[in-house]
């Protein structure tokens, strides 16, 4: 009965015509004001979850933090009202903000590893807000914290509070941070990309824990993310934002199933790239055979007996979680980390182990593109210089001829020659990555290693980059070694796939075969952990994923016993 009465619309948070501005200081120019959030209104009922979704710069975190009266850097709320529990918090001043922060509204940050103070024990930090606001005694607060640790299925809930942040894994820290937010029994929690920094198999676990905790404690939440599939699992309603403006606001099911705005439609139907798998050719372009590599003079083995082939003009996607050794494989192939054992054969001849021993021609044939495009370019060189450099270095092309080639390359990356006088700082993230692609293409390589090249980009921009890469592959007949942690990307572009886990390739073959059941334990777990857009997916797959974890734990136990047998 009580539930029915409550449904009448017990408003917790009512944001009206919010306007947020910031002062930016562009180098060499006078400071200027920019508007981050334009006239956004939203309401949130008690116990409900509203998902805020959008790409970077959409203003989602800024809106979330405004409910605590907080602005990062020089961010200021310059208009509108933020009504929490019936009163406008913007009128409360600094004292008012301090009283509501950590008591009425709590915050869960993207990277718990950075958001916990390394100098204090977890328990002291978890109960800090509760004690500060005097809503419970220390004993009560600690009891509450332990109960929350249990609810969030943390290991050793009684003693985990004694630990320091560095003694706990990233996924566990994220759950401890959720417990920290729940501990002072707030009315509202702002989750700011709480699972974005986690591996996909860890993410699902944390996501499920957060969902249960929200349901059991009846706390309301603003759930901020750029991942529509994630937000579809936890929220009652979704609000789509872009460039600080509201695009669309509706029930989760409606946004996912019947999006009304073009932008939302694009977000929902993002993974629309079709790439027909090509049959492997007669001879591979690059052949990695039984490569073993280690850091620290052989102490830490990071690649164990890895063998893969890449065929001319095709794409091998290497997929795995952080620490699986996929980037190390790239370093071994390029000679940055000379393998201890095994061989790398390129175009029928063996490659020298060490980068320094390789002739210029080998270096030209094998190019690389990185995750962070902005640090992979010299900020003081123009786009034209950056792209022209390989032309001079490898082909001795100079002057007008060089400019002509640069213009052609800019054309190939769909940017136009007007960009050749620009500096990297003047480009968007996607454009920067395109310039890096053009630079690697300038060398006319046979193989490009792409290391997480779309991971730092917004989903729609990343999609554009993938389309471009596929397009270029068709025209230039270049092969890719595509390193990623994202299965959706793999599906879009790969011809063959290698799945890596703890330095080993656990599954390898043509795309159609690798993605076809039956799966080995790890690939199965990885595949079922990739969030799907439909609401209710999380609840469906939870039991199978939990079983998968148990199986993996068993496997790694066996691995340890095998290793100690040597």
């Amino acid at each position: 009965m009580v539930e029915v009465v409550k449904k009448g619309g017990d408003t917790l948070l009512d944001i009206r015509n919010l306007r947020i501005e910031a002062t930016v200081y562009p180098p060499g120019e006078s400071p200027k004001n920019i508007v981050l959030v334009h006239d956004v209104s939203l309401t949130l009922e008690k116990g409900k979850v509203l998902g805020l979704i959008g790409e970077s710069g959409a203003g989602k975190s800024t809106i979330g933090l405004s409910s605590m009266g907080y602005g990062r850097g020089g961010v200021r709320i310059t208009g509108g009202e933020v009504i929490l529990n019936g009163r406008d918090i913007l009128k409360g001043g600094k004292e008012g903000f301090r009283k509501l922060r950590g008591r009425e509204v709590c915050y869960v940050a993207q990277s718990a590893a950075a958001a916990f103070n390394p100098a204090h024990r977890l328990m002291d930090q978890v109960v800090e807000a509760t004690l500060l606001h005097g809503t419970a005694t220390r004993a009560e607060a600690e009891k509450r914290a332990v109960a929350l640790f249990k609810k969030l299925s943390l290991p050793n809930p009684e003693t985990i509070g004694e630990r320091f942040p560095h003694q706990v894994s990233g996924g566990q820290l994220q759950r401890v941070m959720t417990a920290m937010a729940l501990c002072s029994e707030p009315d509202l929690i702002v989750f700011d990309e709480p699972t974005t920094a986690l591996d996909v198999t860890t993410q699902i676990d944390v996501l499920a824990a957060i969902k249960d905790a929200i349901r059991d404690t009846h706390v309301a939440a603003l759930y901020i993310t750029h991942d529509l599939a994630v937000v579809a699992q936890v929220s009652d309603e979704i609000m789509v934002l872009r460039h600080g403006r509201l695009v669309e606001w509706g029930g989760t099911r409606q946004i996912i199933k019947e999006p009304r705005q073009e932008y939302t439609k694009a977000l929902v139907s993002m993974h629309d790239i079709e790439h027909a798998e090509q049959k492997p050719g007669a001879t591979p372009l690059l052949s990695v055979r039984n490569v073993t590599a280690a850091y620290g003079g052989g102490c830490i083995k990071v690649l164990k007996n890895v063998s893969v082939d890449i065929y001319p003009g095709q794409t091998l996607a290497v997929v795995g979680e952080s620490g699986s050794g996929k980037s190390t494989l790239a370093r071994a192939i390029t000679g940055l980390l000379p393998p201890e054992q095994g061989t790398v054969t390129f175009d029928g001849r063996p490659l020298a182990n060490r980068l320094a021993d390789r002739p210029k021609e080998d270096l030209r044939q094998l190019q690389m593109i990185y995750q962070m495009a902005d640090v992979a370019m010299n900020p003081r060189q123009t786009v034209g210089t950056i792209i022209g450099r390989p032309l001079e270095l490898y082909f001795g092309i100079k002057g007008r001829e060089r400019d002509k080639r640069v213009a052609e390359l800019l054309d190939a990356i769909e940017m136009g020659k007007g960009f050749s006088d620009r500096y990297p700082a003047e480009l968007s993230g996607g454009q920067k990555q395109r310039v890096c692609i053009a630079r690697s293409l300038a060398a006319k390589p046979k193989l490009i290693i792409c290391d997480e090249v779309t991971s730092a980009l917004d989903p729609l921009v990343a999609n554009g980059i993938l389309k471009l890469l596929l397009n270029l592959q068709q025209h230039e007949k270049v092969a890719y070694l595509f390193i990623t942690h994202d299965f959706a990307t793999v599906r879009s572009i790969a011809d063959s796939i290698g799945v890596m886990y703890r330095g080993e390739v656990v599954r390898y073959g043509a795309k159609s075969k690798v993605l076809m059941p039956p799966f080995d334990a790890y690939t199965g777990l990885l595949l079922s952990s990739v969030p799907e857009m439909r609401p209710g997916w999380l609840d469906e797959i939870r039991s199978s994923v939990t079983a998968g974890f148990a199986k993996m734990a068993e496997m790694s136990d066996e691995g340890i016993s095998l290793a100690s047998g040597h």
Partner: protein, 318 residues
Amino acid sequence: MNLVLRLVAQRVALGLLLLLAVSVLIFAGTQILPGDVAQAILGQSATPESLANLREQLGVNDPAFVRYFHWLGGAVTGDLGTAMSSGQDIATSIKGRLWNTLFLAFWAAIVAVPLAIILGLIAVRYRNGWVDKLISGLALASTSFPEFFIGYLLVYFFAVKWQIFPAISTVYDGMPFGERMQAIALPAAALTLAVLAHMMRMTRAAILNVMQSAYVETAELKGLSAFAVIRKHAFPNAIAPIINVVMLNLAYLIVGVVVVEVIFVYPGMGQYLVDHVTKRDVPVVQAVGLIFAAVYVGLNIIADIAAIVANPRLRHPK
């Protein structure tokens, strides 16, 4: 904990090795200096025979490495030799002076270190505001003036004009504590002003660096007051660089007081060193040099150890 013990042992061993290397340098350095001690003692009118006799007596004719080990062995067992100029036992005459220097340095540090850290915290709290600028400006000004200038300013105002403190810091054995404190007030103040800015600015920079961290934002979003955020969340993580600069300045208070001691005619190590450098009394210069080096190395070892112990990752390994 084992890891911490190992690291600490490593630092101590390295410190001892460094000290040994310094002792070689000190010994070699004083050997290279021109001049003949025997000649200095006996004067220009000495006969060649008496010079040779005295050299034999002083052991100057032995090979250098024999003399080095002889000297080092003595120093380790507390025998620093006898002063050539006065014939007094160096260890005995240094004892009182070392104690005087430590007494002065101690009271200067007691004032300067907490003051510098608190000023640093306040500067961070009101960063970029007028309070911050005032603190930084005054601290920089006090450091920029040479010590002797500040010393004479203090003497002019406090001793000559207002006659609150004595201009000459005479201390003697058995002096009552109160009088002793009054005697060292001006040199201690001069030293405090000399070291304050360095520590204060380092504290400010180290904490500001930490203030960028995500955990500081977490603390702010818990509703902590600005000062509580700095004290509880920023300061503990900035402690290692702060300790380092504090130790450097403590070492300076002991080793670098020469000018201040001379200005206030304070019977400390600095004055003792200056006296005997002019007399070309090599054993004294060596002894004082060795003690200064030991103080420097020792304080830096303490800074290293404190930084190790302050790091929760080392204190509580996974």
